[in-house]
Amino acid sequence: MNRLKDLSGDGGGNRVVITVIGPDRVGIIAAVSTVLAENGINILDINQTIMQEFFVMVLVADMNNASIDLITLKDLLDSKGEELKMRIDAQHEDVFNYMHRI
């Protein structure tokens, strides 16, 4: 089981989970991390795997010093996803903590 960094500790509660799903190709991590770096978003953890010939990357990032808000980030990643022909989504970490942790 791939375990991602513990998200339950302190850290401002302003972390996002970015998921990238699609056919594997060159430059996926570079493309996504460029968008994040350009906007002051710090990557805390990256986990990638291949599931049924699909590339799946789960990335946890900290938005405490980000120059944009989550909605704008989603829009940026959406258009990057279209460019790469992959599905890129960003969601607040609370969704996952709430659903999977008591």
Partner: protein, 452 residues
């Protein structure tokens, strides 16, 4: 520590299994809007709703995007209008319905509930006026929903109210005959109505509620069906365990979204309604859950037992996930809004009588059922009375949302579109209850001991 599997599970639930938050419903008290002059009252109502709910839709949309969790509907429930309008001298309450419609349109919600009266023990002048105004109110508006509570386990069943509301249902069907009698899809007759239900058409803002509150309703039949499928040939105890775990996850989303919305809107959080609410979308069906459990078709013998297990497991999982569970909380079995139910009716597996039996073990009742337009008023009243009896004598909520589709007969169908779906006209028992209904009066409340 979150795992990649957990993250992907959540994403799959939303993208493939139709997990969504069905509704964020803002409850607004209109008790401070009463006025002897109904024009003044209506203007106060419009002002208060637009003031309180002005950013409801925007906030809901923002939360949906940030969490990647669709929030299908943003809605409003208000104090039963009979209580607000009673102080005025207006002969009928159509203007109040128009004020609600205008306010709902202004803030961008698709339904507003609360054109309602509580008449389980009897009518005040305001209650009568409201009920008499329902046909015109529902045929003159798109967004306004009406409900009437005709029975409680403490007061018994008001058979005079049932007779009256049955005439109102017929009249509403006739006034909206051009649109397959859609008016009746916006009218619910309750027994033991909950005061914090966020789901339409039966939502209203109860009198024990605060000035303004946020309630959420979750959905998730597709997620439950998929979990059962994965459980393979597990026995029923293990299946219950699977459903509980799934309901927990689904309810947590309702809790998160509700609390976030309440915080951002600066109003208290009320409850999560832990309901399995189907939609006409493929795979988002409660009937298909029962079929996945092993029934050839929903409505087959065994359906009541399967539904009882499902409903109980959903409640148990949901109650663990949220401290404030309320509303209807259970599995809904509306016919027109559930593709599996529609199929079951079409192949002859599901009848009104079997649906009635199933409502004894799940939430709500005979919901979104289309029947022939020439069904006698007394028969409609008797169907409502039967359903109310199930609720009152089993100490649970039941309701009837029935559509006597004007000009239609068995074999035809009504088409409403959207979440309301389409419904085949179902056969109704031809034998009469006329003399029974004509007796009128109130069926006394059941004894609360000697329970068997």
């Amino acid at each position: 520590m979150l795992t990649t599997e957990e993250i992907l599970e959540t994403i799959k639930m939303v993208q493939e299994e139709n997990l969504d938050i069905r509704t964020i419903t803002m409850g607004i008290s209109l008790r401070d809007c009463s006025d002897a002059d109904h024009k003044v009252a209506c203007s106060k109502i419009y002002d208060k709703i637009t003031r309180m709910a002005g950013s409801l839709v925007k906030t809901g949309d923002e939360i949906a995007r940030e969490y990647g969790m669709p929030i299908v509907n943003k809605r409003i429930s208000v104090t039963p209008i009979a209580l607000v309008a009673e102080a005025s001298t207006a002969e009928n309450y159509l203007e109040y319905a128009l004020a609600l419609e205008k306010a709902a349109a202004a803030v961008g919600v698709n339904f507003i509930g609360g054109f309602s009266a509580l008449v389980h023990k009897g009518f005040t002048e305001g209650d009568s006026r409201l009920v008499e105004s329902i046909p015109l109110a529902l045929s003159s508006t798109e967004r306004v929903c009406a409900s009437v509570n005709v029975a409680t386990s403490r007061a018994g069943i008001n058979m005079d109210a049932i007779a009256m509301i049955s005439r109102v249902i017929k009249k509403t069907a006739e006034l909206t005959s051009e649109n397959d009698s859609i008016g009746c899809a916006k009218l619910v007759v309750f027994a033991n109505v909950p005061e914090d239900n966020p789901f339409m058409a039966g939502a209203f803002h109860g009198i024990g509620e605060p000035d303004c509150v946020i309630n959420t309703g979750v959905s998730g039949p597709g997620v439950v069906k998929s979990a059962i499928k994965k459980a393979g040939s597990a026995d029923l105890g293990a299946l219950s365990e699977t459903i509980k775990k799934t309901a927990f996850k689904v309810t947590r989303m309702g809790e998160l979204v509700g609390r976030t919305a309440a915080k951002r809107l600066g109003v208290p959080f009320g409850i999560v309604d832990v309901s399995l609410a189907p939609t006409p979308a493929i795979g988002d069906s409660v009937a298909e859950i029962l079929e996945e459990m092993g029934l050839e078709r929903c409505g087959a013998p065994g359906s009541t037992a399967a539904l009882a297990l499902l409903n109980d497991a959903v409640k148990k999982g949901g109650a663990m996930a949220s401290s404030y569970v309320g509303g209807l909380s259970g599995a809904f079995i509306p016919v027109s809004e559930d593709a599996g139910m529609i199929n079951a009716v079409n192949v002859g597996a599901l009848t009104i009588e079997k649906l009635e039996a199933m409502t004894a073990v799940c939430s709500v009742g005979l919901d979104m059922i289309a029947i022939p337009g020439d069904t006698p008023v007394e028969t409609i009243a008797a169907i409502i009375a039967d359903e109310a009896a199930i609720g009152v004598f089993n100490h649970k909520t039941t309701a009837v949302r029935i559509i006597p589709a004007a000009g239609k007969k068995v074999g035809d169908q009504v088409v409403f579109g959207g979440l309301l779906g389409r419904a085949p006209i179902m056969a109704v028992n031809k034998f009469s209850a006329e003399k029974f209904i004509r007796r009128g009066g109130r069926i006394p409340a059941p004894i609360h001991s000697l329970r068997n």
